[in-house]
Symmetry: C2
Subunit: 530 residues, 2 copies
Amino acid sequence: VFPSSAFSFFCQTLLLRVFHEVEQAYAVWPMPQQMSQSTDRYPINPQLLAFSYARDSAAQSGCSVLDAAFERYFNLIFPDFVGLSNIWSEPKPFTVSVKVKNGECDGFPDEGSNESYNLSVSAGQAVLKAESVWGALRGLESFSQLVYQDDYNLYFVNKTEIEDFPRFQFRGLLLDTSRHYLPMPAILKTLDAMAYSKFNVFHWHIVDDPSFPYQSRNYPDLSSKGAFHPMTHIYTQSDVKRVIYHARLRGIRVVPEFDSPGHTQSWGKGQPDLLTSCYKGKVPSGTFGPVNPTLSSTYQFLNGLFKEVTSVFPDSYLHLGGDEVDFTCWRSNPNVQAFMAKMGFGSDYTKLESYYMENIVNITAALNKTSIVWQDVFDYRERIPMDTVLEIWKGVPADYRAELGRITLAGYRVLLSAPWYINHISYGQDWRNAYTVQPQNFSGTEQQKKLVIGGEVCMWGEYVDATNLTPRLWPRASAAAERLWSDEEKTSSVDKAFPRLEDFRCTLIRRGIQAEPLFVGHCKHEYSGL
Amino acid sequence: VFPSSAFSFFCQTLLLRVFHEVEQAYAVWPMPQQMSQSTDRYPINPQLLAFSYARDSAAQSGCSVLDAAFERYFNLIFPDFVGLSNIWSEPKPFTVSVKVKNGECDGFPDEGSNESYNLSVSAGQAVLKAESVWGALRGLESFSQLVYQDDYNLYFVNKTEIEDFPRFQFRGLLLDTSRHYLPMPAILKTLDAMAYSKFNVFHWHIVDDPSFPYQSRNYPDLSSKGAFHPMTHIYTQSDVKRVIYHARLRGIRVVPEFDSPGHTQSWGKGQPDLLTSCYKGKVPSGTFGPVNPTLSSTYQFLNGLFKEVTSVFPDSYLHLGGDEVDFTCWRSNPNVQAFMAKMGFGSDYTKLESYYMENIVNITAALNKTSIVWQDVFDYRERIPMDTVLEIWKGVPADYRAELGRITLAGYRVLLSAPWYINHISYGQDWRNAYTVQPQNFSGTEQQKKLVIGGEVCMWGEYVDATNLTPRLWPRASAAAERLWSDEEKTSSVDKAFPRLEDFRCTLIRRGIQAEPLFVGHCKHEYSGL
């Protein structure tokens, strides 16, 4: 109406546009360690984008991990690409050249894997250099997030330099497939989304009290009697292989958890005499408690099961659980009482728990695997090998900071998951809580801080199955992912993270991940896959 | 191991099976007013199930509502049906015969619609009798829930008698398409699921501050300038027609809300001079407040908009909003101040708000529509027609019981939504809160209680879009649906409701509704449509 106001509006819009473009160009989630960018931008023609191996790269065509990644990232960068259109007039090719120092193309990612990479984007090319294929995967993810579309749907990438590496070696996500069975597509899709946030460990809490879906080769009764359904609600050996394969191609380790001696009700259905028979007075009550730690048959079984499990899962870690053991049933059982007396444990059942955990940690060590256990095992002062990793899960009102101090003071390595139980939902922007965690902010020496090897987002399954898993995970888990990957000082402002995480969640939606909104607003392409 | 114990286990299993079958047979959600059932069961062969109109039915073949419902419910009852299989050996036909007293086949459901029905299931047939097609729809839904599959996937229905009618006339669900745009499939799928829980009003909170997605015929700038995007984030006239059509076939009214004078920021973008210009001292600050109630142009515009809206939406109700008006901006504006003085309102801005609401309620009445407004309008002691419906939304710490008493004492009809803001999520089984609401439990006469015409589940959009809408709605909204449909005394136990609601949520999943779990457990057919 007023020309001057209209002009001002026009200018404002223009400024916003420029600002928005720069914003968009900067949006790599989680934030790289070092990144510089200019407003110089280069067009990318989908017909003429090519991924290639640098001549002096240790990995070359035929490298399974990178061959698959090139194909995957092409489709992620150009979600609309149909391969036919010739509207685009930009005639210049754009090459993403990848150089890897050590191959590892056919290996599995593990604790020692190097995920660092350098990425340099200039006119007509991006040069990606990494120690290993695992770092190259992280670099490809960052590159894919740098490419954007303008209002005419043309693709661009800005001049960019990135030097990047993870803050923590272990960046995990736990899924619980016992309280609810998660069909394979739900797990595979979660692995896809994990890679977008640079998670590198899938902690598979595969069995627990309610059901035993892992189909064991040596103990088939465990799932045929302990799963919700023996045919439709199980993970076959092929399913497990597929999960490990899918994860490997994305640089993700698969660490299974076989939690005992508690949380094992479902085990008892297919393995007679494994669980402690609870007594009411002088007679068995008909109910069962934790694994019976007094019988040698128990350890024979566990040795057999772990032998199988460690051959099925290639990762060097095995999670043994060890949390929340209720002593009531042990106390009631006369045979357990006799064993306590024989061993001189008095009436201290934590000693019995320790005895059990020490035994199974030793079984695991003999199988050349490193154990992860929940913090309870440390709290009970068990004698466990110094390479055991303790995982902190007790949050409010327990103080996980104090526990970080205690465990690292004792010289153990530690994983933090207490503040990242994101199955606990609340109304509003609760991703902010996950974002503002400071895993190394506790009283301790520099040496102690280094013993914090990472953390895990946990999605326990009491109220979660495939119907609501994805929107509860994303982008809330991504908030923790940035904390685990990025420099803490550069990502100290949760308010500055907000618009970047909003952009990233639109990226997730564009990739078919049903990621829920952070607040009022919209994405250019909304989720509509109902 | 022990034969006797094995036998006992066998018996227990058998008992559980029988019990489970009866349970399953009883599972109609929401619970019918009267229902008796025996364990006599009749097989149903999908090849030989037929829906038919009774000879003396007012509706006959060609009745759009029921023709479509027959087709729909066939597919809902037999989700696996492919029309080819001939494995089934049951040679007897099963007929669902529907008799409707008054046709209404081409009409719209409205406040006076009769939804009662009687259903009698015996050998080879089900007889469904209803006053109107709307009652027949409710009866078909109940019948569809009575049919179950045994372990061999054969279909059965038990001998059953149902006499049923809704406790409340108005059983609504609100979707907010302004804070996030909901693509059409999300709205249509929600209407499907609403019918499964016997909801009968879709309250479409179509516009609000963040965006104006309704594409008006007469005022196209409202959406072209006020929507998140003028092409992709709007509801065209065709979209609206499709929603109304889809809802009608399911016996669902569509009541649009055009909330004013607050919650209108997005309106201002496409309608100059509609909003009040806020002042900072003696000059306009550049920001805008609620609709400007002092200008005749405002009422001309609203008359034009409501004239259009009431012609587009056939329902006899129109929701006018009227909630949460912030007076700060009105106070700052010298023209508004002058108007206040002229009208003798002093400095009581609630009088200005009343003046505005009375005007638009009168506009609505002149268009032969009944107004619904939020409780604020009553709280401001506005003079509004006695047929206006007040909707209570203020919950904790406000006491909605006291407000129920006050509004009904004044003789107004009331809708309850305060305890059903199910966008407010919390960890755990929060559906129990929605279930235990007692809408008529307030101090007042029987006459007053009758003025409670129903309630609404509200899913506000701050944190909700198509990515998480469905699992947040279902089955939590179904808990409120039973409260609004069923006899309160017969459904007073939330613990007894639990297994029934668990079964119902598995039914929803089987029908493709991404309904989240209530607790640990499983469905025979899990959701896997990722």
